[in-house]
Symmetry: C2
Subunit: 347 residues, 2 copies
DNA sequence: GAAAATAATACAATCGATTGTATTTTATTT
DNA sequence: AAATAAAATACAATCGATTGTATTATTTTC
């Protein structure tokens, strides 16, 4: 194994001083006189010294690394969250180890182990759809590694969370549909095992009730909210639920799938059926008509999660009281819900 | 600093054996008898032992970590590339450290330093728009860290690359526009400093020539290919280049921007102006009419880049001959270029 | 059953930086 | 100039696992 790397010992030998002095000089410790520092810095430069972070980390028992586990990077929401995470981490001198659970609990468990073994200073996590118990997080807790959940969280107490007020977002979305005149609003729901989708469902339901509309269980269509699921849901609606005049989808992807299907069947959006999505993903503003949606501000969540995590890391070994940050969502109104005021035809 | 962590020495002491035997047992070395292994494994489990990967890495001078530097995670192409990188890395027991250059050379330089200091086993890189010289890559080379460029590469010899045949993709795209009857095809070009955009430009130009069409420099509109740039280009075309009947954009984002603008001006796509993009991003299939585009297969590139990198890592210390993998692009034909066969009106 | 061969385990150095303590050097005071 | 204080540097242990070599225990061979 080639190790042509320069160490502090090499520098020390070259200058006939002790390696501890070299170490202190390189860390700009006040215990080394300026003159000596200059010599050491010059020599280090000359010899092409590069600190071995592994050795440093081992000794200091700190890696300046944050581990991130998310279901899937290529989803827009997650990639924008990571963007925020990476930027904040970089600003604070942390590296980011990126992992995907691919919605599998087994992989997630595996990854937590790897991150713990790698002694990351903290973990940011958005759980997989399969994650119903949280035993695997015990490992991080036992090893004193602070953890922050974002978006897809779990409801065990004592956690740090950065969340969107999904309930409110859905409430607003549904309320908006009602205000546009919709009376039979279908809901494309995600797996209710996830708190997040449960909250979106609740927001939908309670917005109906608050507006004096009946909650109709058969208007709730469950799926994993893929594009195809949206299309299937739309088909089901056309074939068996003719009364539906509005759709609130728990994500944009399914909403787009539904829209594409409806457009293919020449259904007028929003006039016959109005649609609202959730996420404000890149497709929502591009589709025609543009999709009304709830902004999920992934980058901001990533930023906040990282800031919270670093706060917890710095507080070690006495952990701060766990904190939950809840972002208020914004409804982005676009054409998929702007029903034209009803005008009598032929006048 | 709390270090309530169990080490191999603790296990050794508990069993009154030597730590080296424990280490070998945990690594399932044949030098330890099965019976002893069993005892050690049981004790390790019982004491909640977790290998300290830092120490192991330091000793072995290997981190099982790959560093990735890309311009921006939230771009669809890059996030899908990372998806492929992470999956392949995971399968091979590697972790991935993720970094964004945010299109800044300074940050990129900084990140290479960090990765080298962290002794990553290899680096996967897609350079920033500012990266015109490659001195910062010397550091990786000098430290014997294998590197693979993907998509945005540089043309210094001796590099490993995983690239798309951008020339061919653009050629096919332009050729397709010609075959649809376009005779004055504008090109939304990216920064020509990047080899990749130069290749796309060349493909465009040569496809024209091959079809006996004149190359008209004023039909090339340079920009950074943001959505707004696409819109501006479209405006310029409407105002000053009325002869244009087709647009080949060097990416989807600008193509979408242009389309939105043209649609706003009631220009018929593809009949008045046909459009082709590049990337096959998520918006291309959603926009109306759906955008014809060149598939960039980010995930596949990520996979291949990682496989190539791991091959190079395993070949150490004698590096394999550098390899360049070029993927052939696929033109995805959609409605933005399907001109209806010309039929005389009113017949 | 002694000698040789093999298996199993112990010893000790090492990876490279950090850090508490000890020692030497320099500066200050009387 | 001696005594004290303060500054600068050296010594040595340490982080936790790995690994070449040495030693002890066991098995095989004649």
């Amino acid at each position: 194994m080639q190790t042509n790397n320069v160490t502090i010992h090499d520098i020390a030998a070259a200058l006939k001083i002790d390696s501890s002095t070299v170490s202190r000089a390189l860390n700009n410790s006040p215990r080394v006189t300026q003159k000596t520092k200059q010599r050491i810095w010059a020599k280090a430069q000359e010899m092409g010294y590069q600190r071995n972070v592994l050795a440093s980390n081992l000794r200091k028992n700190k890696t300046n690394t944050i581990g991130v586990i998310i279901p899937r990077i290529s989803r827009f929401f997650f990639s924008s969250a990571i963007e925020g995470i990476e930027e904040t981490a970089f600003e604070n001198g942390y590296n980011v180890i990126m992992c995907q659970s691919l919605e599998k609990l087994e992989r997630e468990t595996n990854l937590v182990q790897t991150l713990v073994a790698n002694r990351v200073d903290g973990i940011i996590l958005s759980i997989s759809m399969e994650t119903l118990d949280y035993e695997h997080m015990e490992l991080a807790r036992k090893n004193g590694i602070p953890t922050v959940f974002f978006d897809r969280h779990c409801d065990i107490p004592g956690n740090n969370n950065v969340l969107l007020n999904d309930y409110q977002g859905s409430f607003d979305a549904t309320d908006h549909l009602v205000s546009q005149g919709c009376r039979n609003i279908a809901h494309l729901a995600g797996p209710r095992d996830l708190k997040l989708y449960q909250n979106r469902f609740n927001g939908y339901k309670e917005a109906l009730e608050k507006n004096g509309l009946p909650f109709q269980p058969d208007l709730v269509i469950d799926s994993n909210l893929m594009e195809e699921d949206g299309a299937n849901a739309a088909q089901k609606i056309l074939e068996t639920l003719p009364q539906v005049d509005g759709i609130f989808s728990a994500n944009d992807v399914a909403a787009v799938g539904a829209m594409q299907f409806l457009k293919g069947k020449n259904i007028k959006i929003p006039d016959e059926i109005a649609i609202v999505g959730f996420s404000n993903g890149p497709t929502s503003s591009v589709i025609d008509p543009a999709l009304t949606t709830v902004d999920q501000s992934g980058k901001k969540m990533g930023r906040l999660a990282t800031e919270l995590l670093i706060k917890q890391i710095n507080a070690k070994p006495i952990p701060l009281a766990p904190e939950t940050i809840i972002l208020e969502p914004t409804l982005i109104q676009r054409d998929s819900t702007q029903k034209k005021p009803t005008i009598h035809p032929n006048t």
